[in-house]
C-alpha cells in the first residue's frame, strides 16, 4: 500500500458504508474491504478497471460522475471518497457539494500544484510542469483543473466546510515535518477529510 492510502485507512471507521468515486482498479476499496470490513460501491468508467473491481468482488457501477450523482440519496453513505481525481472533473466545487450531500464525511486527495518543483518549473522555464507525478502535456492531460493545497483550504472556508484533518506527503509518499509545516510548498499529494 502507498502511504497516502495508509493514511486514509487510518482515518476510516470499521464497517463504514463507502462510495468510492473514480475508484480505478479498486486498490483502496479492496484493501478497506479486507481490513476495515467496509461496504458500498465504487464508481468507474474505465472498462478494464471495472472488470478488475468485479474480479476482486467490489460492487462497482459504470457511471460517469460528470453526468451527476443524483441516483444517490442524501446522507446515505458514511463516507464518500475520491482519490487523485477531483482535478479531472468539470466542476470540482459542485462535485464536493454533491459528495457532502451523499456522504456524512468525505476524504479527498489531489495533487498539490503549489509544490515547489512545479513553481520552479513554471517560474524559471515558463512552461507547464511535466513530471513523473504529473506526466501529461498541457494538451492531453486528463487533469483539467490545477489547484493548490491552499486553494482547496480556501474553497472549504468559502463553502463553510469543516476540515476534520489533513495530511500532506511528498512524491515518495513520505510525511516529513517540513511538509507538515509548509504543505503548500512541500506536499505533492494533499489529503483532506471534510464534513459540513
Amino acid at each position: 500500500m502507498r502511504s497516502d492510502l495508509e493514511i486514509i485507512e487510518d482515518w476510516i471507521q470499521p464497517n463504514s458504508r463507502i462510495l468510492d468515486l473514480a475508484c480505478g482498479p479498486g486498490e483502496l476499496f479492496h484493501h478497506l474491504m479486507i481490513n476495515k470490513n467496509i461496504s458500498g460501491y465504487g464508481l468507474e468508467i474505465n472498462a478494464d478497471d471495472l472488470n478488475t473491481c468485479i474480479e476482486k468482488g467490489i460492487p462497482v457501477l459504470e457511471q460517469n460522475i460528470d453526468e451527476g450523482l443524483l441516483n444517490f440519496e442524501d446522507q446515505t453513505f458514511d463516507l464518500v471518497l475520491m482519490a487523485h481525481a477531483l482535478q479531472q472533473f468539470r466542476r470540482p466545487d459542485l462535485l464536493i457539494d454533491e459528495m457532502l450531500r451523499i456522504g456524512k464525511e468525505c476524504i479527498i486527495t489531489f495533487p498539490n500544484f503549489g509544490h515547489w518543483r512545479n513553481r520552479l518549473h513554471l517560474g524559471l522555464k515558463g512552461r507547464m510542469p511535466v513530471s513523473e507525478y504529473l506526466p501529461y502535456n498541457w494538451y492531453d492531460t486528463p487533469n483539467i483543473h490545477f489547484f493548490t493545497f491552499q486553494d482547496f483550504e480556501r474553497l472549504c472556508r468559502e463553502k463553510n466546510i469543516k476540515v476534520l484533518r489533513w495530511a500532506a506527503i511528498d512524491g515518495q509518499y513520505k510525511n516529513h515535518w517540513w511538509i507538515r509545516s509548509m504543505p503548500n510548498l512541500f506536499s505533492e499529494t494533499a489529503i483532506f477529510h471534510i464534513t459540513r
Binding site: E55, V60, E62
Partner: protein, 385 residues
C-alpha cells in the same frame, strides 16, 4: 454442425422432460393440474449441488441454449456463444440448466399441448402465464433436480425479469442474479409494440381466435408481421443502416410493391422463418407475460422496497444502443438496488447492435460476464474447502 465439435462447445445434447403432478395455481387464477417442462443441462452437478446455474430465456427462446441436438444441426443453441467449457458460463465449473417456460412451444406444456380434460390441444384456452408463474415452475424443476440454491440465475430481456423475480420470490435460493438488457417493468412504448404484434396476429384471418390448429391453418401472415416489427425494435438504427443501408435488390427501382431494398427482404425472410419455428398462441402469451411484469406494483410502486428482500448479489448489464430495453431501464434496477443497500455491479457495454446485443458475444460483455461468474464459482469452492 461443424465437422469437428469445437473444444469450447458442450457438444451433442439431448433435451429431458420432467413431469409435475402437483397442481400449479397461476397468477391469473386458473390452475394447471399437471404439466411438463422440457430442459437441457450442460456440465456436471457437484456433490453438494451448489454449482447450478439457471438460464432463463427471453421472448422467443427455448430450452436449447447450447450445443447441438445431432450432427445435422446447422446451428447450435441460442446462447452457445456464452455457455460451454471455458466460456463465460463455464460448464467446467457450473451445472447449467436451461428450460422452456410454460406456455412456450419448445416442448413444455403450452398452447400446442393436449389439455387432458378435453383431450384436445389447448390452443387459445391455455391460461395466461406470468413471470411469477414461470419462476414458481422453475423452482419446482430445481426441487426435482435436487437443487436448493443456484450459484447464479442468468437471463437477458424477459429472461432478466425472471432472474429479478427469483431474487425477490426466493431470496435464499440463489447466490447471484445476472440481469442483462432488462427492465423492472415494460415502458408504455414497449406495451404498445407488443399490442401491435398481438393485433397483427389476431387480425390474421387464419388465426381463428387462436383455434387455428383445429381449423388446420397457421396464421403465418400475422405472426410473421409481429416478428418483423419485433426485429426492427431489436436492432438499432445504426445497426440496420450498417447491415443494409439502402442497398437495392435490383439496379434500378421497379416502382412496384415487390422488394426494392435489402432490408425489406431481410424482414420478410425473418418473419417467414419465425413462423416455421414458433407458435402464434405462445407468442401472444409471452408478450402478455412481458406486459404484466411489475414486481414493485404490489409495493406502492417502490422497487427498492420490493428488492429489500433480495439476498443475492447482482450483476446488471446494458447496451448503449438498445432502445427497446435501454440502459436507463437497467439503471432503474441498479438504483433501486443501491437504495436497498444491495450488492450490485453494473456495466454499460458500448455496442452498435441494439437489443440484439445481449445474444452477441461482444468481447467486453463476455469478459464482464466471465469475470463475475468466475468469482461466483471461486467463492463456491472456497466455501467447500
Amino acid at each position: 454442425m461443424p465437422d469437428v465439435i469445437p473444444s469450447d462447445s458442450v457438444g451433442i445434447v439431448s433435451p429431458q422432460v420432467a413431469n409435475f403432478e402437483t397442481p400449479l395455481t397461476l397468477t391469473c387464477g386458473q390452475t394447471l393440474a399437471s404439466y411438463q417442462l422440457i430442459y437441457e443441462t450442460y456440465g456436471t452437478l457437484n456433490a453438494d449441488a451448489s454449482n447450478a446455474v439457471l438460464i432463463c430465456h427471453a421472448l422467443s427462446g427455448d430450452h436449447h441454449a447450447a450445443g447441438y441436438h445431432n450432427a445435422e444441426d446447422k446451428k447450435p443453441g441460442w446462447w452457445d456463444s456464452a455457455i460451454g467449457p471455458g466460456k463465460p458460463i463455464d460448464t467446467n465449473h457450473f451445472f447449467v440448466i436451461s428450460l422452456n417456460n410454460l406456455g412456450g412451444c419448445g416442448g413444455s406444456t403450452g398452447p400446442t399441448s393436449i389439455n387432458l380434460v378435453t383431450g384436445q390441444a389447448w390452443e387459445s384456452d391455455f391460461p395466461i402465464v406470468t413471470v411469477e408463474d414461470w419462476v414458481e415452475s422453475q423452482a419446482r424443476l430445481a426441487d426435482f433436480l435436487g437443487i436448493q440454491t443456484f450459484a447464479a440465475i442468468v437471463g437477458g430481456s424477459l429472461g432478466g425479469m425472471q432472474a429479478l423475480e427469483w431474487s425477490i420470490r426466493f431470496p435464499d435460493r440463489l447466490k447471484s442474479a445476472v440481469i442483462i438488457a432488462s427492465a423492472p417493468k415494460l415502458s408504455t412504448q414497449n406495451i404498445a409494440f407488443n399490442e401491435v404484434a398481438r393485433q397483427s396476429i389476431r387480425r390474421d384471418p387464419d388465426f381463428f381466435d387462436g383455434r387455428y390448429q383445429t381449423n388446420r391453418t397457421v396464421p403465418t401472415n400475422g405472426l410473421g408481421l409481429a416478428r418483423m416489427l419485433g426485429h426492427i425494435t431489436y436492432l438499432s438504427n445504426d445497426a440496420m443502416g450498417e447491415k443494409f443501408g439502402r442497398t437495392m435488390r435490383h439496379e434500378q427501382f421497379q416502382y412496384n410493391y415487390d422488394i426494392e431494398f435489402e432490408v425489406e427482404s431481410y424482414l420478410r425472410y425473418q418473419g417467414e422463418a419465425f413462423t416455421k419455428r414458433f407458435d402464434a398462441n405462445s407468442y401472444m402469451l409471452m408478450t402478455k407475460a412481458l406486459d404484466y411484469f411489475d414486481p414493485a406494483a404490489q409495493n406502492n410502486n417502490d422497487l427498492s422496497a420490493t428488492l429489500k428482500k433480495a439476498k443475492c448479489e447482482f450483476l446488471l448489464v446494458s447496451f448503449s444502443t438498445d432502445w427497446r430495453f435501454s440502459p436507463e431501464r437497467s439503471e432503474e434496477i441498479v438504483n433501486a438496488l443501491i437504495k436497498a443497500g444491495k450488492q450490485v455491479s453494473y456495466a454499460k457495454i458500448e455496442a452498435s447492435e441494439g437489443h440484439d446485443a445481449f445474444l452477441i458475444p461482444i468481447p467486453r460483455y463476455m469478459s464482464v460476464l466471465k469475470t463475475f461468474l468466475t468469482r461466483v464459482s471461486n467463492s463456491l469452492s472456497r466455501e467447500e474447502s
